[in-house]
Amino acid sequence: MAESHGGGCCPPMDLMRSEPMQLVQVIVPMESAHLTVSYLGDLGLLQFKDLNSEKSPFQRTYAAQIKRCGEMARKIRFFKDQMSKAGVSPKLILEKGIDIDFDDVEVKLDELESELVEINANNDKLQRSYNELVEYKLLLDKAGEFFASAHRSATAQQSEIESQQEGEDTLESPLLQEDKSIDATKQVKLGFLTGLVPREKSMVFERILFRATRGNIFIRQSVIEESVVDPNSGEKAEKNVFVVFYSGERAKSKILKICEAFGANRYPFSEELGRQSQMMTEVSGRLAELKTTISAGLDQRNILLETIGDQFEQWNHKVRKEKAIYHTLNMLSLDVTKKCLVGEGWSPVFAATQIQDALQRAAVDSNSQVGSILQVLRTKEMPPTFFRTNKFTTAFQEIVDAYGVAKYQEANPTVFTIVTFPFLFAVMFGDWGHGICILLATMYLILREKKFSSQKLGDIMEMAFGGRYVIFMMSLFSIYTGLIYNEFFSIPYPLFASSAYDCRDTACSEATTIGLIKTRDTYPFGVDPVWHGTRSELPFLNSLKMKMSILLGVAQMNLGIMMSFFNAKFFKSAVNIWFQFVPQMIFLNCLFGYLSVLIIIKWCTGSQADLYHVMIYMFLSPMDDLGENQLFPNQKIVQLTFLFLALVSVPWMLLPKPFILKKQHEARHEGQAYAQLDETDESLQVETNGGGHGHEEFEFSEIFVHQLIHTIEFVLGAVSNTASYLRLWALSLAHSELSSVFYEKVLLMAWGFNNIFILIIGILVFIFATVGVLLVMETLSAFLHALRLHWVEYQNKFYEGDGYKFAPFTFTLVGNEDE
């Protein structure tokens, strides 16, 4: 199918077919290229084709610019990270008009980044010194305690020994004396090391020290109660203070190495009390200093971050916009000889003047000598599909697009879906009480539209808000069908007149055995209220709803086939009308249309004919007499006729179309072959053309198989799709049964106890069950099934849905990237 040659059959209708699209070529001088793309992005009505698709990203014209933008985007991400860590939030854009220069932004970002990195490094260093000093202070405390107590016990011991020495006779215990004497000259010089070690490694540390030095050390550890921030890792850890006494240089080096391996920080410590207290005051002083310095540093950083935050959103937006512009510029091909860029793209026909305007404005604003040129190209490619939707129709169009985007200019199912989708939902949901609840919920969403559309909502809320108009329609139709089914939270009300049924006699003796009879006129609007709670309610409602489903289904399927007729008319394809539309209508209506008519006749006459029997034996033994299943005179002849027509229509839709298409194709290309015989120097080309049937392929077998599949799908689908509509009955039954169970078994039972607490609990359970099961789950369920009925049973009668959506270059989407 080449360009659109449609129209003329019916007056044009909004949303029915895609906007006519055209392929345009834009020739832009180099100096106004950037501005042109920027204005076209603001306009948002041109979808650029990538003319440089064979080139790698590095070979493209503007690769360097994209790298610049990438760098700036990285810096912006870094800022955002730092801001969120520090708890500073960026200011939202209030003014849109101010245009900032791209190069300025780049320079500023550079400056700010280096400043921020420097401040961060300084802060880290200061923090580390602070932590070390804190550890040192703790060590001074604990080790000081230890040394003091050791000193005390040592002096106590010494004075004891001295007193013992004085009190004893030197002759009586000469050997002991020697042992006990503390010979100053023989005293070994002990060195010691102090530090902190993580608590979980302390036992292993001690053991390894012991083994490495062959037991020639003395180690004391003391626990620090509160956790300390480790200077290296910056995290809190439990530590112990340790003191190691050793003798000899080799032992010292071993101990040093082991300390390093265990990450134990060592600090100098002196034995004398005087030095200790001096160190203590020094450290405390330095700690206080550092604290003020660090807080000053943090303040400075926060000020810097706030200045960044003021301009953050603007810069962010600008960088993203520039990146998008350069990506688009990369798609244009460079015409070196003419010093200009050539771009191709799809745009709607109505937008041609707007694009011209944008091009002119850009040429003027960039002070270029030459203007830009816009010209329309002719092509056989299939254009993208573009529907102009407003906030109401967007949701419905998205529902249809989710199944498949319409082919260019084919009939859009959305037009009827706007009404039939909420209607079929309501047939499955019918309860006017529930409908009112959903209406209130969706009115809240609609009245707060402006506020919600500027906020960022969660996933589920976003979906519910996006579909607010769909849900609104669904609730309106639900109220209507609820009135028809006469269910208000499953309670019927005689709103329009009194019930049509009455007792057979004044005593009402047979009400529970044979039942009431219909004395007055039919209840004028909906189901008679007397039915609820009766023993024969289900047989009656089931029969009613099943027949209703069949009638609605046949109606919708006929509408689908009519849409295919409109398509055939639009694309001027007589083959499709006579050899597809007509046999399809005959087949569907001779069988299921006839069934629908029988249903209506049975209802109108009150006959007791068994319709299952009638339909099945119409196929099995069509020549038999109908007997008591006769609904109208000459029924047998009518049935035979319909059966014959249905059987004839199957080969009618299968066989002629492929042959006719083949003849059409040959007729089209016969002319070409004859024309080329005249040119003798292209005789070679004639053969290749004849062999390949020109640039259009025509495989007869493929067309035939395609038609065969289409026919089988339609014929078998007629039965299965009609039966599929019975889900309308099934879900409406489920809904009314659930609703009735919740009412009777929860609310009425709670009422029966005559206790206020049980009543309140019962009401709460009723409310939660109604909202959770009926208003949420049943809504989703009926939504899904109505959707399936549209996507499969309705759309497979006419919809091809293999187009692609129009995705213009626009800046409104730029804001939502990488979030």
Partner: protein, 70 residues
């Protein structure tokens, strides 16, 4: 009798709704046609549902049999 009257009522309501749509949102012929289509479809759907339920109750084959408990 009641059937014809109510069908007429549906037709009248449909015409009124179409006129209201034309009066309050008159935005060009193609848009007007879309609105008219929507109103007509809605009227036809609603009428069909009402008609089916009404005709089904005109000559009933099953009668309500009240249950034992009152």
């Amino acid at each position: 009798m009641g059937f014809l009257v109510t069908t007429l009522i549906f037709i009248v309501v449909g015409i009124i709704a179409a006129l209201c749509a034309r009066i309050c949102c008159n935005k060009g012929p193609s848009t007007n046609l879309l609105h008219l289509t929507l109103v007509m479809t809605a009227t036809v759907c609603c009428w069909m549902m009402w008609a089916i339920v009404y005709i089904a109750q005109m000559n009933p084959l099953i009668v309500p049999i009240l249950s034992e408990t009152e």
